[in-house]
């Protein structure tokens, strides 16, 4: 494993950024691409296994009156279903499995990242950008599939005087094209900033003398609570924005 880490070419360090380093646990290659199984991959697979086992085990009894686990599974289901119904209406439930997967995956990755010494997959821009790009491309494809070239009307809002069009259309276009960037940076920056802050303050606890240690420890404890909220909130925001974008593509109400 130590050799694998060396392959990445990173020197072992304990700075606040060290927690984000990718460590190759099993170096792999496919068609010339590096597809090594890394610490990031480990937590993705862990999330996949945890989510699947939990949701399937919790529903194994299929009880009419749910037990504790089944209640949790149903609550998560109803929570995401509520977001989809609220933003997309009943017909939007077609996209529910996709939206649900996005929500539960990001939420679990964020929460796994809260375990001390673990790795936060969503603190990497490339991961959040890939997710946001998937959302953006899927939404755009759905928009064109449902409305054809009429989908371009999204950039020409109704009720705007024609002489404002040269101004409005580029703004609309840019705000549409920027979506994957804003969507991915929001999640990535929140996760990275929070974890960096935690690490920085935790290291103060080591370096400060005796009694002064109490302040960073207390702050870290409080901030950890806030980070749990952020971990949930960012998964929620990503999901809601996905639904809002989907609604644009499905209904074109601007």
């Amino acid at each position: 494993m130590a050799e694998a880490a060396d392959v990445a070419g990173h020197a072992e360090s304990h700075g606040p950024m060290a927690q984000f380093e990718i460590k190759r646990l099993v170096p792999l290659e496919l068609f010339g691409y590096d597809i090594s199984f890394t610490n990031s991959s480990l937590f993705m697979v862990l999330a996949l296994v945890l989510i699947s086992t939990f949701l399937i085990l919790a529903m194994s009894r299929r009880a009419l009156v749910p037990g504790r686990l089944q209640s949790i599974a149903e609550s998560v289901y109803e929570f995401v279903a509520g977001i989809v119904r609220e933003n997309l209406g009943k017909e939007g439930m077609r996209y529910f499995p996709w939206v649900f997967t996005i929500f539960i995956f990001i939420l679990t990755l964020n929460m796994l990242g809260m375990i001390p010494g673990s790795f936060t997959v969503t603190s990497h821009i490339i991961v959040t950008f890939a997710l946001a790009a998937m959302v953006w491309i899927t939404v755009t494809l759905i928009g064109f599939a449902r409305h054809g070239l009429g989908y371009l009307k999204l950039f020409v809002p109704e009720g705007v005087p024609f002489w404002l069009m040269p101004l409005i259309v580029p703004i609309e276009l840019v705000s549409y094209l920027i979506r994957p960037v804003s969507l991915s940076v929001r999640l990535f920056a929140n996760m990275m900033a929070g974890h960096t802050m935690l690490k920085v303050f935790a290291s103060f606890a080591v370096s400060l003398p005796f009694v002064a240690k109490a302040f960073p420890v207390l702050f870290t404890a409080a901030f950890t609570g806030l980070e749990f909220l952020v971990a949930f909130l960012q998964a929620f925001i990503f999901t809601v924005l996905t639904c809002i974008y989907l609604n644009d593509a499905v209904h074109m109400h601007h």
């Binding site: 990173h10 890394t38 009419l64 499995p97 997967t101 890939a130």
Partner: protein
């Protein structure tokens, strides 16, 4: 959808690798943010694609349909139970209404029957009474007629007997043999037969 996603992610890996090379050239010295360490992009994208597609498949084919089914089933069950309760309530109300109607009908029937019975009894009594009265009246009339006839006959016999007596008296007294007819004529002339 998973197939499309796989293709999508493969394309993303391509783009990612290009970006990675660009970053590498720019950031040849190493260090900096681990998030911008371009050679790490490809493995992350690959495993993200694998885990996401797998998760999507498990969610959409196994986990979510099961949860949805159970929730739907519960909703149906509650709906059914409510509907059944509603139906039973309506039936109860209908039964109550029909019971009350039957009761009031029976009451009305009973009073009708009582009235009719009273009326028919009254009529019968009246008829009987009338029949008895008629009979009595007829008997009375018969008796009166019989009395009249007897009286008339008696009176007629009296005249006969008187005539005979007169004949014999006249014969005895005057030796005149007057016939019964002559006596009768004489009586009629004197107006004594009245």
């Amino acid at each position: 959808m998973p197939a499309a996603m796989t293709a999508l992610v493969a394309a993303a890996i391509d783009v990612g690798t290009d970006v990675a090379e660009a970053f590498d050239a720019h950031d040849a010295g190493g260090g900096g943010l681990p998030q911008l360490h371009a050679p790490d992009f490809a493995p992350q994208l690959f495993w993200l694609a694998v885990t996401f597609v797998l998760l999507y498949w498990i969610m959409s084919k196994i986990a979510l349909p099961r949860i949805g089914e159970v929730i739907e089933e519960r909703k149906d069950r509650i709906q059914r139970d409510l509907a059944a309760a509603e139906r039973l309530k309506a039936e109860t109300e209908k039964a109550l209404a029909s019971y009350e109607k039957a009761l009031s009908d029976a009451r009305a029937n009973a009073s009708t029957i009582a009235r009719q019975t009273r009326e028919s009894l009254n009529a019968e009594v009246e008829k009987d009474r009338k029949a008895v009265e008629d009979q009595l009246a007829r008997k009375l009339a018969d008796a009166e007629a019989a009395i009249d006839a007897t009286k008339t006959k008696a009176l007629a016999s009296v005249k006969d007997i008187a005539g005979d007596a007169v004949v014999s008296i006249v014969g005895t007294l005057s030796n005149v043999n007057a016939t019964k007819d002559e006596i009768a004529r004489a009586l009629a002339a004197s107006g004594a037969d009245k």
